[in-house]
Amino acid sequence: MIRSVVTEVRRALARRLVRVVVLVALAGIVLAAAIAFANSSPDEVDAFSLDDIWTSDADGEYVLGGTASLFLFLALLVGASLVGAEYKAGTVTTLLTWEPRRLRVIGSKLVAAGLVAGGLFVVLQLLLVLALAFVVGVRGAGLENVPDDYYRGLAGFLGRGALIMAWCAVLAAGIATLGRNTTAAFGAVVAYVVVVESILRVLRPGWEAWYLPENVFTALEGRRLEEVARSAPGSALVLLGYLAVVVTGAVVVFARRDVT
């Protein structure tokens, strides 16, 4: 199983889409650092500080929170395309003649999708933190007087983020397995969140604790959000429940489907 997962991860990392995503993210990191550099001065009262990168303040806005939202879409795309591309290229047949254990094949794909999305999130967010911290050090509020729990809190955010991105990618990969198509999977998730949940919000405002975005951001922040009557662990359980349904469906269908 480990060999299958490693192979899938290597394949995912060698994919053009993933490489483009990484390149664009790296360019974005450089651009963000340049913008922060150009707009900050150590002499100003509101000079660029570590709190602008990440903060535990419930009311505070920070860069990593915004980029995490972007990463959610990228995780969806990476997860969906990892499986969708396999169907589009027709390589499932070739793969199954080498590894006929279908549970192992689909399991390794789902695990790889999660590992790649979660790993990319941590690595790219860390690079962003380093780039912005450099700006804070040379042209911002400085790196002195950092609160004791800052780095632990930041690590917690990155850890939760990695898990959420992995969740997102596995969900998308599961839907792509059911629909045998990247666009269908990506579109299904986006359409569900944008259309279905928007309608439900109007018709059933009391169901907010069950909607995807609320639970995703509650779990990501690691604390109860004002608009959601659910704790972070509660949201994580809800998300796991949704994932279990999709993954079970995907595994059952993949195990039984004729590959023609």
Partner: protein
């Protein structure tokens, strides 16, 4: 023990509105170890479905398959010993041929030098590092064959391996398949190229309508279609034809020759009838039957086989 066993194999595909298409209707097949086994049939006769059932890609509606003694649930135990190529092989388009094989070989911890060997063997060494999407159909076939050979398998299952190849490529593949068969491996080749099957296979099975029509050594299968007609050349042709017909010998003109509907062991009757009329034959031989003729006879002319 047979390498491949198929018993009463049935498969029906269900369409989106519950419409059913029957691909296999109780196919029985037994492939002995060693040599090249041809699996012949017109388009839609169930060849590829049979192969997909054997490899666990498709769930049969009924019947049983065994590959190296393993049923569909036990294929993992024998997968390492089986190399296969199903229809036009598909790989990741943006990865090179070599990269595609590396990713597969990694699953079985196969040495990378085996990949290079396989690519050289199928004549793809020079283009091994080009993206798969730039390959011609023939090159895709070669890569599929290389993927099947990388495992150094005991059993090779090849579905239409000559698809898309030019005549020189077809000959190369034919020679390769024959060589693999002569090395003691079992090569199971499905094809509708009758001439190819006749030249490279030791045994052949013909399927039509999802059922086995005939099976056996190529020579025996050919013999089953032999002995139907004699070819006669004599001068004057018209006189010979009239003489034969007058003697109630079923005969018809066919260009500069006469086709006589008699078995070879009745050839003496032709010479006697003609000689009695002082017409002497310049040529008298049984009509040569090739696999195409047998195939068309046995399948009732179904499909459009290529020679």
């Amino acid at each position: 023990m047979p390498v491949i066993e198929v018993a009463g194999l049935r498969k029906e595909y269900r369409g989106p509105f519950g419409r059913r298409t029957r691909a296999l209707a109780g196919l029985d097949l037994s492939v002995p170890a060693g040599g090249v086994f041809g699996f012949l049939g017109p388009n839609g006769s169930g060849k590829t479905t049979t192969i997909r059932c054997l490899l666990g890609l498709v769930r049969p509606s009924g019947g049983a398959t065994r590959l190296l003694g393993a049923g569909p649930d036990g294929l993992a135990a024998v997968a390492r010993r089986v190399g296969s190529m199903v229809e036009t092989p598909q790989f990741f388009p943006n990865f090179s041929g070599r990269r595609n094989l590396e990713l597969l070989a990694r699953l079985d911890r196969i040495d990378t030098h085996r990949i290079d060997d396989a690519l050289e063997l199928v004549g793809l060494g020079a283009r091994a590092r080009s993206p798969f999407r730039t390959y011609s159909l023939g090159m895709k076939q070669r890569l599929g064959l290389a993927a099947a050979l990388v495992k150094d398998p005991e059993v090779l299952i090849l579905d239409e391996p000559a698809n898309g190849l030019d005549p020189a490529g077809i000959k190369e593949i034919r020679d390769l398949v024959r060589r693999l068969g002569s090395e003691g491996r079992t090569v199971f080749v499905s094809s509708h190229l009758l001439g190819e099957v006749q030249q490279m296979c030791d045994r052949v099975a013909i399927v039509a309508g999802g059922r086995l029509v005939t099976e056996g050594p190529v020579g025996e299968v050919l013999a089953r279609g032999r002995g139907k007609r004699l070819i006669v050349k004599a001068q004057p042709l018209d006189g010979a034809l009239a003489t034969l017909r007058a003697a109630h010998v079923p005969a018809a003109a066919d260009g500069d020759r006469i086709l006589v509907e008699l078995a070879p062991d009745e050839a003496a009757r032709v010479t006697r009838v003609l000689a009695d009329s002082r017409i002497y034959v310049s040529e008298l031989r049984p009509e040569e039957v090739d696999l195409e003729t047998v195939f068309l006879e046995l399948t009732g002319g179904e499909g459009a086989p290529s020679t």
